[in-house]
Symmetry: C2
C-alpha cells in the first residue's frame, strides 16, 4: 500500500485525499490554515461545480448540498453591443455553487473522520523534500501562489505575461435569481464580463457577482475601489456599472436591498493564467506531482479552475490505485491522462480572454438563433476538451454549427 | 459527413472501414491485392486475436469464427535451462487464431456488402497526395513495407537497427493440441522461442509453429532452409530442433503425421521493430494518419501487432465519428489516445526480445509458483499498457509480485 503526501487542502487536495481514503490508502495533507480559519476568513472565490465534479462528490459521499436543492440548470447569455444578443443554454445535468468557506472546512472534517492525517503549518519550497522522504509520492496542490519554482511555466500553454482581467467578486443581497435559476454570463465588449452566480453561503442563498474587468476598461475601477473606505460609494459604483454594462442583471436588482452580505464577502485582485510542468523529481528521488492551480491557473471567466483541479485529483487518485510505482512513468501517465481536460480548459479560457476572433462572434450569433447549439455549448462547460474541439479553429466551429443545421455567419 | 480514404486492406484498414460503414460514413479502401489473391496466396502470418479485438469484431458483426468454438483459453509456458520452468496462465476471456487468408477476404467482402468502396491497385508514395485530394482524411494502413518515407522513424521507440529474431512460421499437421487448448510459449535461452498456436485454416484445425530464432543461435537455420528444395530434410530438421529446444511441444508431436499442411503454408523472414511518426501533413493540406504496421511494427513474439493495429483503427474510427475536423489537432488527439496501447505493445515486445534482465527472469520464476500472477500476466496480453506498467522496471515487477503475495527472487 503506497503512502501519499499532499500539500494543500483545497479542492484538489481534498478530493484526492478523500478518494484515497475511500480505498484505505494512508494519506497526509499538509496545509497552512485550519478549517476554522478558512471558515471565518475572507471570500476565497465564487466557484461553481459542474456535473462531473458533483458526480465525484457523490462517489466520495460528500454531496452535502444536493444539486436538486442548491443547484442551477442553465446559462443566460447577454452580449452587449449595438444589437445585443440574449440567449439561454441548458445543462443536461445541473451545476451548483457553494461558498468554499463552507465547503472546504466540511470536506476537511470528513477527511479526518475517515482516517486522513491533517498537519497544519505553512511549508516552504525547501520543506517539500523533507515531506517527500516520508511518502512514496507528493502531490503539490497548494494553489497558485506557492512552490511555483518547483514546476516551471510552460510557455506553449501560457500566452500571457500579465493578468487579462481585473477581478472584483462579492456576495450580494438584493438580486432576484434569474428564471430558470442559472448563471448569467453578461459581456460588455471592450470592458469585460459579469458572471452572476446563484450561490449558497453562510447567509443562505445569495448572489455572487464576479466582475471580470478588462484592464483599462470602464469597469476596471471595481478591482481597486476599497469597500471599507466608503461602503456606500462602493455599492453605488457597482450599481451604476451594472446598470450601464450588464442590463439584464440590473433589471433583477432591487437597489434598496442591494448590498454586500458582509465586508468579508468581497475579493479583489488579478491572476496570470499559467500552465506549469506536470511534475518534478525531488533530490531524494521521490516525485512531486503538481495538481490544481499549482499545475494550471486559469482565469475564472469560464469557471474551469476548480473543476479541472477536481478532475486532476481524480486522475491522480485512480492512477495511484491501479499503478505499481510512483516513478517518472507514473507521472507521465498522469500528465497524459489529464491533459485533454486540463489543457483544454486552459486553452479555451485563454481564447475567450482575448478579443474574440470572427468565428467566436459568429458562434455567439448562431447560438442566439439555435437553442440546440447553445445547449451543447453550455453542456461543454462540463467537458472543456469537447468545447476546445469546437472553438479551436473557424473550421471546427463551422462543422459544429453545420451539425446543428446552422451556417457560421 | 466526412469522407475517409484508407490505404491497405489489412486488419487495421478493414476494422476502421467497417466501423465507419456501421455509421454510414463514406469510405474508400485502396489496396494492391484482390481478396481472391490473398485467399490463394502464401501464409501471411500466424495472428492470434485477443479478447479486446474479438469484442470489436462482435461489435462490427464480423465474428464469423466464434471464440467458443475456434478459440483457446490459456498460455502454457516452458522456459528451458538447467531447471526448466513450466507454468500455465489462464485468460479471463479467450483468444483465437484464424488464418488471415480466410479472415481478410471475408471481411473485405463484408466491407463491400456494407457499401464500402474497394479500389484495387498498388499505390506509390507520390500517389497518396492524389488520393488525399478526394478525402477529408487519409489513413495509411498499408503494412510495414510501403510509404515508410511518409512517416519518419521515431528513434526513442525504435531501439533496433536490425531484426532481433529470424522467423520461420508454418502450419502443420501432426501436433496434438495442448490441454487445455492454448498457445505454448517455449523459450530456449540463447536460441529463441517457439510459439505453438492452435489455428483454424483452410485445412481446418491445424497448428502454427512460429519459430522466433535468435540470429546466430542454433535455430536460426530454420529461417533459411528451403522447403521446396527438400521437403523431407526440412521436416526432419524442424522435428529435431523442436526435440532439442522445445520438448513440451515435441512430446505432443506424432512424427509419422508431422508435416506442413502445404508448401504455401510457410513463411520465413525477419523484420526490424520500428515505431514511426503518427501522422504527416500532405502538400495539399490533408493529413495522413499512419495505422497498424505502417505506424508501429513489432516482432510477432508476443502477438501484439494485429491487436494493436485493430485498437488503433478503433481509436481513429471513434475519433472520426465524434470530432469536427481532420486537422493536426485531430491527429495529435488520436496519437495521444492510442499511445498507451500501441507504444506499450512496442516497448514490452522490445524488452522481451533482448537478453532478459534479472527482474524478468525473477518474474518468470515467481509465476512458476504463483498461478494468480501468471494469470494476470497472461490476461495482460490483452492490455499491453498494463503489462508494460508491470515489467518496465524491477521496482514495478516487485510491486506486482508483492500484490500477489510473492517476493521477487
Ligand atoms: C473569483 C474566482 C472565481 C472562481 N470561480 C470558479 C468557478 O466557477 N469554477 C471553477 O471551477 N473554478 C473557479 N475558480 C478557480 C478555483 O477557485 C481554483 O481553481 C481552485 O480553487 C483551485 O483549487 P486548488 O485545490 O488547486 O488550490 P487552492 O484552493 O488554492 O488550495 C490551496 C491549498 O493550499 C494551502 N496552501 C497554500 N500555500 C501553502 C503552503 N505554503 N504550505 C501549506 N499549504 C499551503 C491553502 O491553504 C489551501 O488549502 C475561481 C477562482 C476565483 C478567484
Ligand atoms: C509470423 C507472424 C505472426 C504474427 N502473429 C501475430 C499475433 O499473434 N498477433 C498479432 O496481433 N499480430 C501478429 N502479427 C503481426 C500482424 O500480422 C501485423 O501486425 C498485422 O497484420 C498488421 O496489419 P496492418 O493492417 O497494419 O497491415 P497488413 O496486414 O500488412 O496490411 C497491409 C495492406 O496494405 C496493402 N498494401 C501494401 N502495400 C500497398 C500499396 N503500395 N498500395 C496499396 N495497398 C498496399 C496490402 O495488400 C494489405 O492489404 C504477426 C506477424 C507475423 C509476420
Amino acid at each position: 500500500m503506497p503512502n501519499i503526501g499532499i500539500v494543500g487542502a483545497g479542492v484538489a487536495g481534498l478530493h484526492l485525499g478523500l478518494l484515497l481514503r475511500k480505498h484505505d490508502v494512508p494519506v497526509t495533507i499538509y496545509t497552512d490554515k485550519t478549517p476554522q480559519q478558512i471558515a471565518a476568513g475572507r471570500l476565497l472565490n465564487s466557484v461553481a461545480h459542474h456535473a462531473p465534479t458533483l458526480e465525484r462528490e457523490r462517489h466520495l459521499g460528500v454531496d452535502f448540498w444536493p444539486v436538486e436543492e442548491y443547484g442551477y440548470t442553465c446559462h443566460h447569455h447577454y452580449v452587449g453591443g449595438s444589437g445585443p444578443l440574449r440567449f439561454r443554454g441548458d445543462f443536461s445535468r445541473g451545476s451548483s455553487a457553494i461558498d468554499y468557506r463552507l465547503y472546504l472546512p466540511k470536506l476537511t472534517e470528513v477527511f479526518q473522520q475517515r482516517g486522513g492525517d491533517l498537519r497544519i503549518g505553512a511549508l516552504r519550497t525547501e520543506d517539500v523534500e523533507g515531506v517527500a522522504g516520508q511518502h512514496d509520492l507528493v502531490v503539490v496542490s497548494a494553489g497558485r501562489g506557492a512552490f511555483t519554482s518547483l514546476f516551471p511555466r510552460r510557455p506553449e500553454y501560457s500566452p500571457f505575461e500579465a493578468p487579462q482581467r481585473r477581478l472584483c467578486v462579492g456576495l450580494y443581497h438584493g438580486v432576484t435569481p434569474s428564471e430558470p435559476k442559472g448563471v448569467t454570463i453578461s459581456m460588455s465588449p471592450g470592458h469585460g464580463e459579469l458572471l452572476e452566480i446563484p450561490m449558497f453561503s453562510r447567509e443562505g442563498h445569495v448572489t455572487a457577482l464576479l466582475f471580470e474587468n478588462i484592464p483599462g476598461g470602464d469597469l476596471a475601477i471595481l478591482a481597486d475601489l476599497k469597500y471599507d473606505d466608503d461602503p456606500a460609494l462602493f455599492t453605488k459604483t457597482v450599481l451604476s456599472k451594472v446598470a450601464q454594462h450588464h442590463p439584464d442583471t440590473f433589471e433583477r436588482i432591487d437597489p434598496a436591498q442591494f448590498r454586500l452580505t458582509s465586508p468579508q464577502d468581497l475579493l479583489q485582485g488579478a491572476l496570470v493564467p499559467t500552465v506549469r510542468a506536470d511534475y518534478a523529481e525531488l533530490p531524494g528521488g521521490t516525485f512531486a506531482l503538481a495538481a490544481g492551480d499549482a499545475h494550471a491557473v486559469v482565469d475564472p471567466l469560464l469557471g474551469q479552475g476548480a473543476n479541472s483541479a477536481s478532475h486532476s485529483a481524480w486522475v491522480i487518485g485512480r492512477a495511484i490505485l491501479d499503478d505499481l510505482g510512483f516513478d517518472e512513468m507514473f507521472c507521465q501517465r498522469v500528465a497524459k491522462l489529464r491533459s485533454d481536460v486540463v489543457l483544454s480548459a486552459a486553452q479555451w479560457t485563454n481564447l475567450m480572454l482575448q478579443p474574440p476572433p470572427a468565428h467566436l462572434l459568429g458562434l455567439m450569433g448562431a447560438m442566439n438563433e439555435n437553442k440546440a447549439a447553445a445547449d451543447e455549448f453550455t453542456d461543454n462547460f462540463d467537458y472543456p476538451d469537447r468545447q476546445w474541439r469546437i472553438v479551436a479553429t473557424a473550421d471546427r466551429t463551422r462543422a459544429f454549427l453545420a451539425k446543428h443545421g446552422t451556417v457560421l455567419p
